[in-house]
């Protein structure tokens, strides 16, 4: 790990302003992903701005009937919040399907959205990776690609986004609140937050430089049956091969997003009208244009079968 200076910020706006003054500054909250990458010198910040203690750790009701989740609410606390468990079960389920108890106790809501890919070629600093070192190439293309994306990727990158929580946030149409170094704030729809890799896979979100997430808001509850189904190589503490997050109403309509298959949570709103027709029709529309490799073509089948399972579970619970 490279040496760095370290400072506690006193307010979100101050944190953003301070970050803008030091080339190579990073915010640190839970640190479970950042420190992991700093040990490998994939992340090499010169200055850490600790934002723990900024009182962004509360979940409050909004005037619209939704919830405002502070950026620093830990994954455990978010999953265990009685309002989330009752009205946004998909979010609880997605969080509890991710990481381990130890990690969930520390990892934050904002940090979860910002976690970086688990592509093995990103982690192996001896391999080419356009995300880690722009212009160096992509060793995953033509390499071992069982875990890689099957849709939305580019010639520069076939990595997937690892977050379970983000899949639920995408289905729930969450909004991300931020503050910028000049003190101005804005709201970014989670749909617009994560980027496809294109020619710049190193740029993963639409956050501007030194922009700090302060909260994530949820619209009023959708009702319906909430299901998060994650398929992985072991039954706990593993990243998804694929995952399905869905909210399905009693009439068979609903919303769905897929994890483990793309550079961002994969939701195609126009495909959702196919949900009442069943998994095959829905899967075909969600995955139209998919270009899997030989190693991960199984994900197409896995998505369709998981969608069938989720739709059947929703019918049984309706």
């Amino acid at each position: 790990m490279r040496p760095f200076t370290y400072l506690h910020a006193k307010s979100p706006a101050e944190a953003a302003a301070l970050a803008a003054q030091v080339n190579g500054a990073r915010f640190i909250a839970g640190g479970t992903n950042l420190l992991d990458l700093m040990k490998l010198e994939i992340e090499t910040p010169t200055h850490l701005i600790d934002i723990n203690g900024l009182e962004l750790d509360r979940i409050e009701a909004t005037a619209e009937g939704g919830l405002r989740i502070g950026a620093l609410v830990r994954n455990t606390d978010l999953a265990a919040d009685s309002r989330i468990r009752k009205d946004y079960g998909l979010l609880s389920r997605a969080l509890l399907a991710g990481a381990s108890g130890q990690l969930r106790n520390v990892a934050t809501t904002a940090g979860n959205l910002l976690q970086r890919t688990r592509c093995p070629y990103f982690y192996d600093t001896y391999q080419a990776c356009n995300k880690r070192q722009p212009g160096s190439g992509c060793a995953a293309i033509g390499g071992f690609s069982r875990q890689s994306a099957i849709i939305g990727m580019s010639d520069a990158c076939i990595a997937t986004h690892p977050s379970d929580m983000a899949i639920a946030m995408r289905v729930l149409d969450a909004q991300i609140e931020t503050v910028r170094p000049d003190g101005t704030t804005r709201v970014i729809a989670v749909a617009d937050f994560h980027r496809l890799p294109g020619s710049t896979p190193n740029i993963e979100t639409t956050l501007a430089a030194n922009e700090l997430i302060t909260a994530v808001t949820l619209p009023p509850p959708l009702g319906g049956t909430h299901i998060y189904q994650k398929v992985r190589d072991r039954s706990s503490y593993a990243f998804a091969l694929i995952s399905v997050g869905a909210v399905i109403q009693t009439d068979g309509t609903g919303r769905v997003a897929l994890g483990g298959i793309a550079h961002k949570p994969w939701r195609v709103e126009t495909a959702e009208s196919a949900m009442p027709k069943g998994a095959k029709a829905l899967s075909e529309q969600l995955l139209a244009g998919a270009t899997p490799t030989h190693d991960n073509a199984f994900k197409l089948t896995l998505v369709e079968r998981s969608l069938a399972s989720v739709i059947a579970q929703a019918r049984a619970q309706a």
Binding site: M1, R2, P3, F4, T5, Y6, L7, A17, L18, A19, A20, Q21, V22, N23, G24, A25, R26, F27, I28, G31, T32, L35, D36, K39, T44, P45, T46, H47, D50, N52, T76, A79, A80, R85, K86, G89, S92, R93, L96, A97, A99, S100, G101, Q102, L103, N105, V106, R132, P134, P181, D182, G183, N202, I203, E204, A209, N210, S235, S236, Y237
Partner: protein, 213 residues
């Protein structure tokens, strides 16, 4: 902030860039002074106060020092083990302010004023913690390397169930989670046992859970 060009040139430009972009908030002088003097080539020190197993300590640490290395290398509390050092194995699990955490994935400077409990703080050879005694009774280990982390994790995990925190194994999100083996297995998945003592570990945890009901 997601600069990918953090090579020495950018660090030499550290002060210049800071001066050019200086806005309304001034950086504390020590940040610039440290960065300038050292060019970030040598360690940066920071004062950290911790309460470890009931003992208050003031330490002067390299900012890079993880909580794990603080315990093992500075405080010589070597009960906490370094396995993978990347949060994947759970051997480094300690209880920080009542919660189990991977001590390898958190910095000591992030724990200013925290109460840390390690395996040495749970029990002593003469007076074992109930979970330690149960691990002995049920032979919940072979080589023993993962055991301190397993025990710290298990103690905090039972508290999480008592607090009503659900898990992936909970059938219903809104009910009080049960003290049953399937819950323990899911909740202990962040602690890997390379010897495979899992079934005995679950028996040890089950005994402590039942005794405390």
């Amino acid at each position: 902030m997601d600069h990918r060009d953090l090579i020495p040139i950018s660090r030499r430009k550290f002060l210049i860039v800071g001066a050019v972009t200086a806005a309304t908030v001034a950086l504390p002088p020590f940040i610039c002074a440290e960065a300038s003097a050292a060019n970030l080539a040598r360690p940066i020190k920071s004062q950290v106060s911790l309460c470890v197993n009931g003992q208050f300590l003031a330490l002067d640490l390299d900012t890079r020092t993880t909580l794990l290395d603080t315990l093992r290398e500075h405080l010589k509390l070597t009960g906490t083990k370094k396995g993978c050092d990347h949060g994947q194995c759970g051997a480094c699990t300690v209880i920080a302010d009542g919660r189990r955490v991977n001590s390898c994935l958190t910095l000591a400077v992030m724990h200013q004023g925290s109460k840390i409990t390690t395996i040495e703080g749970l029990g002593t050879p003469d007076k074992l913690h109930a979970m330690q005694a149960a691990f002995v009774k049920h032979d919940g280990y072979q080589c023993g390397y993962c055991t301190p982390g397993q025990i710290c994790s298990a103690v905090a995990m039972l508290n999480e169930i008592r607090q009503g925190i659900p898990s992936h194994a909970s059938a219903n999100l809104t009910d009080q989670p049960q003290l049953i083996a399937s819950e323990f297995q899911e909740r202990m998945s962040g602690n890997i046992c390379r010897c495979g003592a899992y079934s005995n570990i679950i028996e040890a945890i089950s005994e402590v859970a039942q005794a405390s009901v």
